[in-house]
Amino acid sequence: MKGWMGKSKALLLFTIITMFLAGCGKENLTALEPKGYGADKSMDLILLTTVIMIGVFLVVMLIYVIALIRFRKKKGQEDFIPKQVEGNHKLETIWTVIPILLVLIIAVPTVIATFDLADESQASEHINVEVTGNQYWWHFSYDGEEIVTSQDLYIPTGERVYLNMLSSDVIHSFWVPTIAGKMDVNPENVNTMFIEAHEEGVYWGKCAELCGPSHSLMDFKVIAVSPEEYDQWVSDMQNVDPEEVPADAVAQEGQELFEANSCMGCHAIGSSPAATGPNLTNFGDRSTVAGILEPTKENLVDWIMDPESIKPGNKMTGMYPSVSEEEANSIAEYLMQLKPSEITPESAGN
């Protein structure tokens, strides 16, 4: 009877913790509602360790509270001198052995999961993306597909996507909490990790290694769509004609300004591998402007006029002659109509 009570209490506690944790945070940003392979593995260990640790904490607190209540100095016993106990071998052995066992319970699944997530043996059978971290934006180049994007990374659900990551400047860290834990993006060696999303969605990604003044603004998105939609997106992206002249007159003017102001020196449209600045091929489909702002034309105009006020320390500031609001508007008009694919963040249920 007592054992059953104990178990049900543990279960109740576990449920409360799970509910408390699950209720926390914004969907598709929080690590507490995992929707990907890596995040699941991490969450399993987070829960396992949390439950064990809360158990330990309760034992410590039980002894602590009883000791404080029972053995507080009492009135009339001011001269009482307690027995000077040296120690107790049996007790000391117990609280050495039990923690060792608890550590083993945590260590074994940790080691298994560590090797599991580092497994790169099947990388060649899956989609591979070259990820480049830059102050303060992300570059994605799909191996063998001639597709280059930035800020928004499209992946199919239910499939592993291997990311081969390198930084062009300082250390960054690639983190999409809801689908996978993070991995540093170093300037000297390619780090490989895989991500796998279980369901469609637009997942928030963040840079997790201090990389300069705008470190906190280096957000990106992972857009998980169904495999069919993903194939559609790939073929749309492969059929982009970077030279295409837009139908709209303002946008046409924007395109000319884009070329005249040497924007193309850094920003490629199409699958050019050049990556001085973010690739703009599918800019009109982007979920954000500059990784953080709502994808509106007004925000884009603000960005073109004065990027420094939005992302301090960015590398675009001062790289081009100043543009008038009208010119910025035309450029924005041109960029916002770059929508090569029907597959957009909305397709993932944004």
């Binding site: 995040a39 991490s42 909490p177 834990g181 997790a208 906190s216």
Partner: protein, 616 residues
């Protein structure tokens, strides 16, 4: 006696006294004052950080300034506040606890303090021209590329104060090995002295890694080498390894003395000998040893591969075992005791649950795959504040209340002590508990702003409110110090009915500490004499002349030379004319060394007559 004479002297005389002192007690107090000053500075920086994060997309401080703020907060709190205050306590208390008249190298002790203090001042002077902004961990290549001189100040400031710490460590080791009173065997040493010894050993082995790392960074930034420059064949990960080979033991350099402090306070106020003394000593050694084996758990996401990650994960978890032993031993010391709860004890009792939470999240972080989520988020921020504030700062405040009467002859006010405790304690948990969740909800650390609509608003607001509570607690503590200095209750030699040697001599002690060195008959020597003997220590020697070292201004001038040279090193990058400062500074420092080497200083003797004239 000494208070009366101090009050009669003018400010200039007191200043000169402290500039030239080689007395371990005065140097200890200098360390505490210096560390306390930097603690307030670091606290102010923390408050500004929390105000910036009170609401989403706040523009209270700019992005660049924010990065300077977090860098200086971390660097100041670790290197210039927590560690110096602990070194100050060790300096003051350890020689008294082992029955010594001073540390082994009083000159070196003074030099160590001035190096720390002027190094800290040098680092903080960077505020006028642009502070370091690459985080307290100063990772390359961000730090190498950081414009301006901020990171140069970081490198030179920490190099100076690190040299001071290293000297302190060596000094303590020699003192404990060679200067224990008759009968004070190793296994009769109080736990605080034990942790001082083990901490000093950690300093001895850990700081050289930092020194080397700072030199590499200095050469890269000032003399065009390329240790961390990938373009020229360098490797920036080297910085991380060297930093954490130092940095992880550094955590234990901070927490072991804290353990020592609690191991003194709990037996005193539970009226009971420390439970499992031998186990406590061995657990201390084990923690120190394992502390060197786990540095790469700060680097789980660097991409070291599954083998390295697994090894360091398991080694990290193993530290939980000796730490657990300590927690249970403290609990069992309380068990069966007769517990008095005052301010010192409140901080101590608050430490147990707070630190246990910090230790438990430490094990959780040690699980490498779980760490892929925690790493570099507010979860980590929460974890290390639970350990460093809940462990080290609580220990420092407990120690202040506990040893204040010994150091200054007055007892800190209890009412204000309790008010400061409760506000700080509540504020601490308000600030940091919620941060565990903020981290898992997707908030990385070192974020200047967090965006709207990310579910992070409430947590950050609560956290900032907590910071105000903590600030209030610190202010009350400061008022308490002033109040106590003016009209605090006078303290007898042994106000707490305590157990160790420092309580066998007057509060504050005479400058020679012990008129006659005491004979130690066991663990808790004073307690033994009080319960089984005559109530006071038996002398181990007749009253005789005491040999004391002379005060000297050389350490201060020598350090001034090093500081001037550091300034020169920093600015010679802009203009070679600054090399004059390098040469002049080094000439001053080396000149002082020459004087010190050539001039014989035999110290002085306190005569028997003088000693007999002074009352017990």
């Amino acid at each position: 006696m000494s208070i009366a004479t101090t009050q009669k002297r003018g400010f200039g005389a007191v200043l000169w006294d402290y500039l030239t002192t080689v007395d371990h007690k005065k140097i200890g107090i200098l360390y505490i004052i210096g560390g306390g000053f930097f603690f307030l500075l670091g606290g102010l920086e923390a408050l500004l950080i929390r105000i910036q994060l009170i609401k989403p997309e706040n523009d209270f401080i700019s992005a660049g300034l924010y990065n300077e703020m977090i860098t200086m907060h971390g660097t100041t709190m670790i290197f210039l506040a927590a560690m110096p205050i602990l070194v100050g306590l060790m300096n003051y208390v350890m020689p008294l606890q082992i029955g010594a008249r001073d540390v082994a190298f009083p000159f070196l002790n003074s030099l160590g303090f001035w190096l720390f203090f002027l190094g800290g001042i040098l680092l903080n002077l960077s505020w006028f021209t642009g502070a370091p902004d690459a985080g307290w961990t100063n990772y390359a290549p961000l730090s190498v590329q950081s414009p301006g001189h901020g990171v140069d100040f970081y490198v030179m400031g920490l190099q100076l104060s690190g040299a001071g710490t290293l000297m302190g460590g060596i000094n303590f080791i020699v003192t404990i090995v060679t200067m224990r009173a008759p009968g004070m065997t190793y296994m009769r040493m109080p736990l605080f002295s034990w942790t001082t010894l083990v901490t000093s050993i950690l300093i001895l082995f850990a700081f050289p890694a930092l020194t080397v790392n700072l030199f590499l960074m200095m050469f890269d930034r000032m003399f065009g080498t390329a240790f961390f420059d990938i373009g020229l064949g360098g490797n920036s990960i080297i910085w991380q390894h060297l930093f954490w080979i130092f940095g992880h033991p550094e955590v234990y350099i901070l927490i072991l003395p804290a353990f020592g402090i609690f191991s003194e306070i709990i037996p005193t106020f539970a009226k009971k000998r420390l439970f499992g003394y031998t186990a406590m000593v061995f657990a201390t050694f084990l923690i120190a040893f394992l502390g060197f084996m786990v540095w790469a758990h700060h680097m789980f996401t660097v991409g070291l591969g599954p083998v390295a990650n697994s090894i360091f994960a398991v080694a990290t978890m193993a530290i939980a075992v000796p730490t657990g032993i300590k927690i249970f031993n403290w609990l069992l010391t309380l068990w069966g005791g007769s517990i008095t709860i005052n301010s010192a004890m409140l901080w101590t009792l608050a430490f147990i649950p707070s630190f246990t939470i910090g230790g438990m999240t430490g094990v959780m972080l040690g699980s490498s795959v779980a760490d892929y989520q925690y790493h570099d988020t507010y979860f980590v921020v929460a974890h290390f504040h639970y350990v460093i504030v809940g462990g080290v700062v609580f220990a420092i405040l407990a120690a202040m209340h506990y040893w204040w009467p010994k150091m200054f002859g007055r007892i800190l006010h209890e009412g204000m002590g309790k008010l400061a405790f409760w506000t700080f304690f509540i504020g601490f948990h308000l600030t940091f508990f919620i941060q565990h969740f903020l981290g898992l909800m997707g908030m990385p650390r070192r974020y200047w702003v967090f965006l709207e609509n990310q579910g992070l608003d409430t947590g950050n607001l609560i956290s900032t409110i907590g910071a105000f509570f903590m600030t209030f607690g610190v202010i009350v503590f400061l008022i308490n110090i002033i109040y106590t200095a003016v009209k605090g209750e006078k303290a007898p030699a042994d106000p707490w009915d305590a157990r160790t040697l420092e309580w066998a001599i007057p509060s504050p002690p005479a400058h020679y500490n012990f008129k006659q060195l005491p004979l130690v008959r066991g663990l808790d020597p004073l307690w033994i004499e009080k319960t089984e003997g005559k109530g006071k220590m038996t002398p181990a020697e007749p009253v005789d002349e005491i040999h004391m070292p002379n005060g000297t201004i050389l350490p201060f001038i020598m350090t001034l030379g090093f500081t001037i040279a550091s300034y020169g090193f920093i600015y010679q990058v802009d203009h070679k004319g600054w090399l004059i400062a390098v040469y002049a500074g080094m000439a001053i420092a080396l000149g002082c060394m020459l004087i010190r080497s050539l001039k014989d200083d035999h110290g002085y003797h306190i005569t028997k007559e003088e000693l007999e004239r002074e009352a017990d």
